[in-house]
């Protein structure tokens, strides 16, 4: 008997107020681009993410995936609807966005400095976090002396230094080669589990979404709406090449393609 890897959740209904146990709740979120007649980027997004869940958001170009994360992070404001988030979420970008004048250690220590920690605390915590991402030996190197994957791990350690419980990731591994990306999937998964983080992970790579997510949310394009909300019940750790991962990827990719084809009509 084959296990049902992918299960479609019923569409989320708009919750009233904050729901206990939810780390992120989006209620009828609408976003228009700048200007009064700006194009609609996101249209009536309802999404509720329980604490500790790993949610991947996939969609074709123009689905507003990145806009969605910007709204949740507070870097951008909604046009309509509401968002409630637990604490101050940390953001990890596709580009590492490390400060090029600071060493790996000082980059990780920056949020600690901004939150007013003492020098001793900063040093100790930053070293612990670098150890968490297996980069203790590279503490004194500056970003340009590190590989792309290492920079992303420093960036990950830096987001952890903000003591966030919600982590927003915008295609963080999009620019990495396959081997590095696989290892970083393992690393992210182990950190996510150890710390009980809630993750919103945006990617255009469906297989990556299936590899990592408890849920995969498929958005339509222009405007972005939630088309499907897949539950991925596969056991962890998963591997990129697992047949179950492949078949789930196939199903979601077919839906994504159908969504893309709609725009060609």
């Amino acid at each position: 008997m084959t296990q049902v890897a992918v299960r479609r959740s019923p569409p989320a209904t708009a919750p009233v107020g904050t729901v206990a146990g939810e780390a992120v709740t989006l209620t009828d979120v609408t976003k228009r681009y700048a200007g009064t007649h700006g194009a609609l980027a996101l249209d009536g997004i309802n999404l509720s993410v329980p604490r500790g869940q790993f949610v991947c958001i996939v969609g074709a170009s123009g689905c507003g995936k990145s806009t969605l994360l910007n709204l949740v992070s507070g870097l951008d404001a909604v046009t309509g609807g509401g968002i409630s988030v637990e604490g101050r979420p940390a953001f990890m970008f596709q580009e590492h966005a490390l400060m090029p004048w600071l060493s790996a250690l000082d980059n990780v220590a920056l949020p600690l400095r901004l939150s007013g920690r003492s020098t001793v605390d900063r040093e100790r915590l930053a070293r612990e976090l670098l150890a968490t991402v297996h980069l203790s030996a590279w503490a004194d190197r500056r970003p340009h002396e590190l590989s792309g994957g290492m920079r992303q791990r420093v960036a990950l350690a830096r987001t952890l230094a903000t003591e966030c419980t919600v982590l927003l990731m915008d295609e963080p591994f999009g620019a990495l080669d396959a081997i590095t990306r696989d290892l970083l999937h393992d690393e992210l998964e182990s950190i996510w589990r150890a710390r009980g983080l809630t993750v919103l992970f945006v990617t255009h790579n469906v297989r990556e979404a299936v590899r990592l997510g408890d849920r995969v949310v498929l958005l339509s394009s222009r405007p972005g709406r939630v088309v499907e909300d897949y539950r991925i019940d596969l056991p962890r750790p998963r591997r990129f090449e697992d047949p179950e991962v492949t078949s789930a990827t196939g199903e979601i990719t077919a839906a994504l393609r159908a969504e893309v084809a709609r725009h060609g009509d």
Binding site: P100, L114, D186, E187
Partner: protein, 283 residues
């Protein structure tokens, strides 16, 4: 955890493969920095000697490099020369320091405000194109033949460059760094202190470097025009040397002025290179 040690081992291997530890030697860096400069000086001296040998100008107008250099050597033993140099350099240092304070403050303020940017931004650039010597008639009218007149022109020459350096440095800060800084909890002045100013530092340093060049030029122009009694200066001596009809002395002074300018410029370049190297912008 066994899986964690496997992962750690794999990551270590990958990290070792993807990075290099080579850094260029100091000796070779120094050679690469100095050799072209030495060649350029030799070329200029050679051309100068050639022009003299061709006899295009009589020697009492254009002396050979040897005569000028030996005059410079003589001047270096004279107390009056050092006194004049000290006056000129201290004017430069005071003027430039003041210009830096004003220019940096102005740059930060203008770069922060969209309104000020469009109001004053183009004015600052406009001021920069104004030859500093054109300010002297007004400066003398306002401040007579005084130190203040010279200082005024140094400031008006150097401040726009320095302010512009800050503004363009801030403009070229990658937006992702600002977004990241905000997300990490930097607000207001903290964002400036920990993200924007360090990120803009290369632009700020090149603004300061250009500001020094403007200050030095304005200063020497001022010293040629504004002679103050009992204040010997390189500019005043230069003016005297023409009146005395002493070309070797004149050229010796010019070389001294050039050398001081180059020396300071080299110091700025070294700082600039250091900053860029730290960030991986140059190898």
């Amino acid at each position: 955890m066994a899986t964690d040690t496997v992962l750690a081992g794999e990551l270590r291997g990958l990290d070792a493969l993807e990075t290099t530890t080579d850094r260029p030697q100091v000796g070779s860096r120094l050679w690469h920095a100095l050799a072209p400069k030495a060649a350029a000086v030799a070329l200029v001296l050679g051309l100068w000697e050639l022009v003299v040998l061709l006899g295009l100008k009589p020697e009492y107008v254009l002396p050979p490099p040897g005569a000028a250099l030996s005059e410079l050597g003589h001047q270096l033993t004279q107390a009056t020369f050092w006194h004049a140099t000290a006056v000129t350099v201290s004017r430069g240092v005071v003027g430039f320091s003041l210009a830096s304070v004003v220019g940096l403050a102005l740059g930060v303020v203008v770069s922060r405000s969209r309104f000020l940017r469009s109001a004053i931004g183009s004015l600052i650039t406009g001021l920069q194109t104004m030859p500093s010597i054109a300010w002297f008639p007004l400066a003398i009218l306002l401040f007579q033949l005084s130190e203040t007149a010279i200082l005024f022109v140094i400031l008006i020459g150097a401040v726009p460059s320095i302010a512009n350096g800050v503004i363009s440095g801030v403009d070229y800060v990658p937006p992702t760094l600002i977004r990241a800084g905000r997300n990490l909890g930097a607000r207001g002045l903290g964002l400036y202190r920990y993200v924007i100013v360090p990120a803009a530092l290369p632009g700020i340093v090149s603004g300061l470097k250009q500001g020094w060049a403007f200050a030095w030029r304005s200063l020497l122009a001022g010293e040629l025009i504004v002679a103050i009694a009992n204040r010997p200066s390189l500019g005043a001596f230069l003016s005297n040397s023409r009146e005395l009809g002493d070309p070797p002395y004149m050229i010796a002074l010019m070389i001294a002025i050039l050398l001081i300018g180059v020396l300071v410029d080299t110091a700025f370049s070294a700082v600039d290179q250091g900053i860029r190297r730290r960030r991986g912008a140059v190898v």
